[in-house]
């Protein structure tokens, strides 16, 4: 039974293997709620077609000659921020899974999945915004657990590692153009302490010198 074109999920398939593309297309077109509206054989074609036809769901392999899936994923995610993009691949290496998720994939499904689970995961991906093969879920959770807790946002909402109150005071004075010695005199702290604060500030803001730190401070509205 083919889907009504008005309400069906519009799917684009991206895979360099024609036989696989056609097989998945047959499976999806047989669903009452899905219709395959485009197929692409590599990432370059996927990028062009995605922008032109704006599919609801993109299923994309990773390893393709020419422009691969991860490269295309980054471009399509930028062009179509709301598209649901699910990687469909044989590759179960951690590196590829994490890279894809960090690049904005909504899901990662392994090709050895059975049809029933595959369709359930697609529908989950569309309704809940995420779909991951269960054998990968544990690894993704473990990777997430390794990530340090996000630093508190600065007062102005700029998301960077938190500066202490004293560091913020020093940064303000840096932005005003004071040298370390003058900062020490103003805050009644030793030159050695000022230099230590400056080092920490540069490290936390990931900048190379006080001029760049001042730029960050100014653009973050720490200073009026």
């Amino acid at each position: 039974m083919s889907a009504s074109t008005d309400t069906a999920i519009r799917v684009m398939l991206v895979d360099d293997h024609e036989l696989f593309r056609n097989g998945i297309a047959s499976l999806l077109n047989a669903q009452p709620d899905m219709t395959v509206i485009a197929k692409a054989s590599d990432g370059l074609e996927a990028q062009c077609r995605a922008v032109a036809i704006k599919p609801d769901l993109i299923l994309m392999d990773i390893n393709m000659p020419g422009v691969g899936g991860l490269e295309a994923l980054s471009t399509i995610r930028t062009d179509l921020p709301d598209a649901i993009i699910i990687m469909l691949t044989v590759h179960d290496e951690d590196e590829k899974v994490f890279q894809a998720l960090r690049a904005g994939a909504n899901g990662y499904i392994l090709k050895n999945t059975n049809s029933e689970d595959f369709l359930r995961m697609l529908r989950d991906g569309l309704s809940k915004g995420a779909a991951i093969s269960t054998e990968l879920t544990g690894r993704v959770i473990a990777e997430f657990a390794k990530t340090p807790e996000p630093a508190h946002k600065m007062d102005n909402g700029l998301s960077k590692p938190a500066l202490t109150n004293r560091e913020k005071e020093v940064l303000v004075l840096i932005a005003e153009g004071l040298a370390d010695k003058q900062i020490g005199q103003q805050l009644c702290i030793s030159l050695h302490t000022v230099k230590s604060h400056v080092r920490n500030i540069l490290s936390k803001l990931k900048v190379k010198n006080r001029h760049e730190a001042a730029d960050v401070a100014l653009h973050s509205n720490i200073i009026n």
């Binding site: 054989s41 590599d42 370059l44 074609e45 990028q47 062009c48 077609r49 032109a52 020419g66 422009v67």
Partner: protein, 132 residues
């Protein structure tokens, strides 16, 4: 192989002229993109052209490698979108492919006079006689 598939599917006689000497020295990414361009062009011939003859050539053209697919079908006006724009998108993709590998795409066609698609990519091999 794609030429065999095309002939089998479309039953259009295809004349092929491939300079075998240059094939091994075309960069891998160029090979991939030229192959895709050939596939897309032949698919267009099959779908739209109603051609009686197709010619495919791959040869060195000075400092460039030139892939040319031409047919004697009913042609089209490259300046206009075709139907729902699918063919226009196909041409855009072909252009993207050839530009990705530093080349250019030329399409010559007029309604009633057939179509010629030429993809030219720079020849980069710098070894021995092919550098001349």
């Amino acid at each position: 192989m794609i030429l065999d598939e095309f002939q089998e599917k479309s039953h259009v006689p295809t004349m092929v002229e491939i300079d075998k000497d240059i094939v091994p020295v075309i960069e891998e990414e160029q090979q991939i993109q030229l192959l895709r361009i050939a596939q897309e062009s032949l698919a267009n011939v099959d779908k739209h052209a109603q051609a009686e003859q197709v010619e495919v050539s791959l040869k060195r053209d000075g400092k460039m490698i030139s892939l040319c697919i031409s047919d004697d079908g009913h042609g089209f006006d490259p300046a206009h979108n075709i139907g729902d724009g699918a063919q226009h998108l196909g041409l855009k993709i072909m252009r993207g492919r050839v530009e990705r590998v530093g080349g250019s795409l030329t399409i010559q066609s007029k309604p009633g006079t057939g179509t010629q698609v030429t993809a030219r990519v720079p020849y980069t091999h710098t070894n021995g006689e092919f550098a001349k």
